[in-house]
């Protein structure tokens, strides 16, 4: 009998398998229950193809979305509906809302302990960091152009504005399939997060940063621009003939000759290292969003191409949201808050969410960023005109990105406000808008003013 009873080990093994399996599932349950409960089709929280996920407001309490009922209710103001559509998603799943999906469990009032018990009685509210007023202003300022405008607070990380154009009114959906004019090209894309674009001259800030940290005598050097630069038989054309200039003047005039020379002098390794270090080729992930990664690839590039790459052409690509963060880094002395959209989820005793601040690594030396900031301030004062931004100490760089043959260039404009009270970094991209300083800078002015107004109202 002792032998037989020793053989009950087989039963112990079976018990072990059963218990281990249940433990494994329990661990999975604690890790993923929030995803399961908000998975499309989940019986208690879905009606049709939309999640009944509580309400969404902007930072000032303006209701952007109420999905507690059978059908989604968007903002009252038609312009606000258009300006926030890409953050909230549409009714039919053409435009997804990764932010709402990310926090769906908190929004429906789910907790792993209590499940959905009682969730039907309390509607939770998500408060986004954006301002509906600013969104609206930005979309109107783009006045029909395709493009994107982004503004964020580089001290706290809150995104005040993340607008993409074209957009449409979800309550009055246009005939997008049948459109022949191109007015709705890429309308389902959120250009701010999901696309990359040719930067043009705003990229010269990256080249300048690399030069300041790599070439010791750079600030005392004098360059000469004759309007063209011959590189091994190819001719790099400048936007003017700038004569003898220093680095600050070269940036202000956006001199291709000087930055082309600097790029060649720094060489592909250093440029690629800085593009990597400043995050151009990385993507940001926050609130369920992952931004498109830009590119900066000088593999097998000839000198002429390296020169153009240093001026933000060749095959350079940036993501608007990521580049805006880089502006924050420059503004904040080499390290800035990472951007976010979901400020908090209110309601529910156990389930609420509140954003915790996260920052970038130290990316640049403080002396470098101070110098670049001063040079960018000089751009505004001496070239773009400080009158464009009354009462605001804006530092910026414009760009005119050539895209393809023949078409009007993209206007780009990026920078920040150098002010402890309004620490805002921004980027404006206007597709086929023409010159950066004339097409994009005024948009930046309007949006920044709107932001400052919102912030000062909050302070009072």
């Amino acid at each position: 009998m002792r032998r037989i009873s020793n053989r009950t080990i087989f039963l112990l093994i079976l018990m072990g398998v059963l218990v281990l399996g249940v433990v494994f599932f329990t661990v999975r349950f604690f890790l993923h229950a929030g995803e399961w409960v908000t998975f499309p089709g989940s019986p208690h929280v879905y009606s049709g193809s939309n999640l009944s996920s509580g309400k969404v407001t902007d930072r000032s309490g303006v209701l952007l979305l109420d999905s507690t009922g059978d059908s989604r209710v968007y903002a009252e103001d038609e312009a606000v509906r258009r300006a926030t559509l890409h953050l909230l998603g549409d009714r039919y799943g053409y435009i997804s809302a990764p932010i709402l999906e990310e926090y769906a469990d908190a929004l429906v009032g789910y907790s792993v302990v209590n499940g959905l018990y009682g969730a039907d009685r309390t509607a939770n509210t998500a408060v986004l960091s954006i301002s509906a007023q600013v969104q609206k202003t930005a979309l109107e300022a783009l006045s029909g152009y395709h493009g994107t405008v982004g503004v964020y607070n580089y001290k706290t990380g809150e995104i005040l504005c993340a607008v993409t154009s074209p957009s449409y009114d979800p309550d009055n959906m246009p005939d997008i399939e049948g459109d022949q004019t191109g007015a709705y090209d890429g309308v389902y894309l959120n250009r701010f997060f999901q696309t990359t674009t040719v930067p043009g001259s705003i990229f010269k800030l990256v080249t300048a940063a690399a030069a300041l940290e790599t070439l010791p005598d750079i600030t005392s050097r004098t360059f000469t621009c004759n309007g063209t630069l011959d590189v091994e038989g190819d001719t790099l054309v400048c936007n003017g003939t700038h004569g003898a200039i220093n680095l600050t003047q070269a940036l202000a005039n956006s001199c291709n000759v000087v930055f082309g020379q600097l790029a060649m002098e720094l060489g592909p390794e250093v440029l690629e290292e800085y593009a990597q270090k400043l995050g151009i080729t990385q993507s940001l992930s926050f609130d369920g969003l992952t931004t498109a990664a830009g590119s900066f690839d000088l593999t097998d590039a000839e000198n002429f191409e390296i020169a153009w790459a240093g001026c933000g052409q060749y095959n350079d690509l940036i993501n608007p949201c990521q580049y805006m963060t880089l502006m924050g880094v420059i503004a904040n002395g080499g390290q800035a808050a990472l951007p976010y959209l979901m400020d908090r989820v209110e309601g529910g005793l156990l389930t609420s969410y509140e954003h915790g601040k996260t920052t970038t690594k130290r990316v640049l030396e403080r002396s470098t960023t101070d110098t670049i900031a001063q040079m960018m301030r000089n751009n505004v004062v001496n070239v773009y005109g400080a009158w464009q931004f009354p009462d605001l100490e804006v530092c910026a760089k414009s760009g005119t990105a050539e895209v393809g043959e023949g078409g009007t260039s993209n206007a780009t404009f990026a920078g920040f406000i150098r002010d402890e009270a309004y620490p805002l970094a921004f980027i404006v991209i206007v597709e086929h808008g023409g010159a950066g300083s004339s097409a994009a800078a005024p948009i930046a002015g309007k949006v920044l003013n709107a932001c400052v107004e919102v912030l000062s109202q909050e302070k009072n």
């Binding site: 032998r3 037989i4 020793n6 087989f10 039963l11 079976l14 599932f25 499940g115 959905l116 018990y117």
Partner: protein, 578 residues
């Protein structure tokens, strides 16, 4: 704090009585369960093992070696039950067997030195008080205990249920049932009467059985309490999902109890039980053949037959027959080492089930077969060989009939096709998650709208309405039964009982495993029932039958109705004389 008060006052105005009751009960149920299962587990798993002495073997040097089983292996090896360290005695020498009537035999199990009883060489011989047994020339005498000693032993051993009284455990279970019934009735609306009556009948059954056991002087009720606990969960699933089937389920619990008592009675006498084997062998095959001929396909498997409007799954009852066929006495195991007939019988059963496309049940039988085969042979190598051969056969079968694979195509990635092939599993996990740890409340789930939710997906059903904690308790209840089998194996009377209990435990474990893991996509969904919980009559009856085998291995004093006690008359005459 203000928030909490606000929400409380807000709730008080809008919440119905049902919701208020549920709000409290959903936290009370896991506590009650912990008490019920905790008491059962402590009683079943932490009792002090007291071996029964059936005889003494008197060695040449005068030592009296206690014989503590009905089947005792004698030999030189350390794994023998009575270790006889004499050079002429083989490692496994002989088996000493006691019979129901108190007579004894000794059989040679392939020793070198052989056996003589009173000088005559033998391979198997009856031995009685004073006979001289020589093993390899070393002489022993057997001194069986007298009736009087047996009675004293009965009085002296600790009674089952003495420390943790089953009465109170059952009382807590009744409390649980009353709360569950009230909670379900408040939510259900028009079916409230039926639900209250059904739970009332269940309580009557369990107290009836308890009192009946008391009359039979049996004080161990933990195993039955666990079964009734699981039945309670099963009944509340049906109350939530299909109140019309409550009567049927209660009827089947009743039928299960009858089968349970009948099997306990038949297992009480080992000779009687051994006779049952042949009947069971024929019955098992017969049932499956009837199934093959008259079976009706339902949910992809042809394992149903209809008799007078009642649907029935014969394969469930074959489980009981299979254990009878597989279990074997030590004397037989040690002398007839090959298991050819048993292997052939198992292959036949599994073959029939595969023909019926009932792969889940085939797998259960296969594992039960492995457990029995290992218990009888003790050889992992043999088991590995059998598994490898079967696996090879399985691969061949899939190669020639690839459509079988389609049934398992969703396994492991149910979320990728959540609306079609993964529908049942993904809804199960969504609902499990919706329930959290404490559940939405009995009768308040959604999973009932998914097909087979009260049988194949019952783990998720309980998870949604009662919470993950309860679903885990449900699994632990089954584990507790199996653990008790392991614990009591070393004080078992006969290997027939130990093997039977192990096979029953293994079947319960594998069924639980296939059911739970299928629901949560750790294994393919095979449509196997959860013991005692799933809605299903044949399954319920079979589970109670399996429980009888576990009861038959329970040798705690006065614990089990499947274990014989000295008759009342013997006890009384003992009292008169002392």
């Amino acid at each position: 704090m203000k928030e909490i008060l606000d929400s409380l006052s807000q709730l008080a105005g809008t919440v119905s009585a049902g919701e208020l009751v549920n709000g409290v009960l959903r936290y009370l149920f896991p506590v009650l369960t912990l008490v019920i299962l905790g008491r059962c587990a402590r009683s079943l798993l932490l009792y002090h093992k007291e071996p029964e002495v059936w005889a003494w073997l008197v060695a040449p040097n005068g030592d009296r070696l206690p014989v503590t089983h009905w089947e005792t292996l004698l030999g030189r090896a350390k794994t023998c039950d009575v270790v006889l360290d004499y050079p002429t005695i083989s490692r496994s020498h002989a088996v000493l067997t006691r019979y129901d009537d108190g007579s004894w035999t000794i059989s040679d199990v392939g020793s070198k030195g052989g056996i003589t009883v009173n000088g005559a060489a033998t391979s198997m011989e009856v031995v009685s008080q004073g006979d001289k047994i020589a093993l390899g020339g070393v002489e022993f005498t057997l001194v069986p205990i007298t009736k009087k000693q047996e009675v004293i032993q009965t009085e002296v051993r600790t009674r089952a249920g003495g420390l943790i009284h089953p009465f109170f455990t059952l009382f807590f279970l009744t409390l649980f049932q009353i709360c569950a019934a009230v909670n379900l009735a408040l939510e259900s609306g028009e079916d409230d009467q039926a639900i209250l009556v059904a739970f009332g009948v269940l309580m009557l059954m369990q107290w009836g059985l308890f009192i009946f056991m008391r009359i039979l002087r049996r004080t161990g009720f933990e195993v039955e309490t666990i079964a009734f606990f699981l039945c309670t969960l099963g009944l509340s699933v049906i109350a939530s999902d299909a109140p019309g089937e409550l009567t049927k389920q209660l009827f089947c619990i009743g039928a299960g109890l009858v089968v349970f008592l009948f099997l306990c009675w038949s297992l009480r006498g080992l000779e009687r039980a051994k006779k049952f084997r042949y009947l069971a062998a024929v019955g098992g095959i017969g049932l499956l053949l009837i199934n093959l001929v008259f079976g009706v396909e339902q949910y992809g498997a042809k394992n149903w037959i209809y008799i007078a409007g009642m649907s029935f799954q014969p394969s469930e009852l074959v489980k009981l027959c299979f254990i009878f066929v597989g279990a074997s006495t030590l004397q037989r195991i040690m002398t007839k080492r090959n298991m050819f007939l048993f292997i052939a019988y198992s292959a036949m059963i599994c073959g029939c089930l595969v023909l019926l496309s009932d792969f889940g049940t085939a797998l259960i039988f296969f594992v039960a077969f492995l457990v029995i085969a290992y218990m009888r042979s003790g050889s992992f190598a043999t088991i590995a060989l059998i598994v490898a051969a079967t696996g090879f056969g399985g691969v061949l079968a899939l190669r020639f009939k690839p459509y079988i694979l389609n049934r398992f195509s969703a396994w492991g990635h149910v979320w990728e096709d959540a609306a079609n092939t993964g529908y049942q599993q993904t809804r199960s996990m969504m609902c499990l998650a919706s329930g959290g740890l404490f559940g939405l409340g009995a009768g308040r789930g959604w999973l009932q709208y998914v097909g087979a939710s009260d049988t194949d997906l019952v783990f998720a059903f309980i998870g949604e309405e009662w919470g993950l904690l309860m679903a885990i308790f449900m699994v632990l209840a089954v584990v507790c039964l199996a653990a008790f089998v392991v614990k009591s194996a070393s004080v078992g009377r006969s290997s027939f009982y130990t093997i039977g209990a192990c096979a029953a435990g293994a079947i319960l474990l594998v069924q639980t495993m296939l059911n739970v893991f299928g629901t949560v996509d750790l294994l393919p969904l095979t449509g196997v029932t959860f013991p005692f919980v799933s809605n299903g009559g044949s399954s319920m009856i079979a589970c109670w039958g399996l429980l009888a085998f576990i009861k038959a291995a329970d040798t705690r004093q006065n614990a089990s109705v499947a274990v014989k006690l000295p008759s009342k008359r013997d006890l009384e005459t003992d009292k008169e004389t002392t």
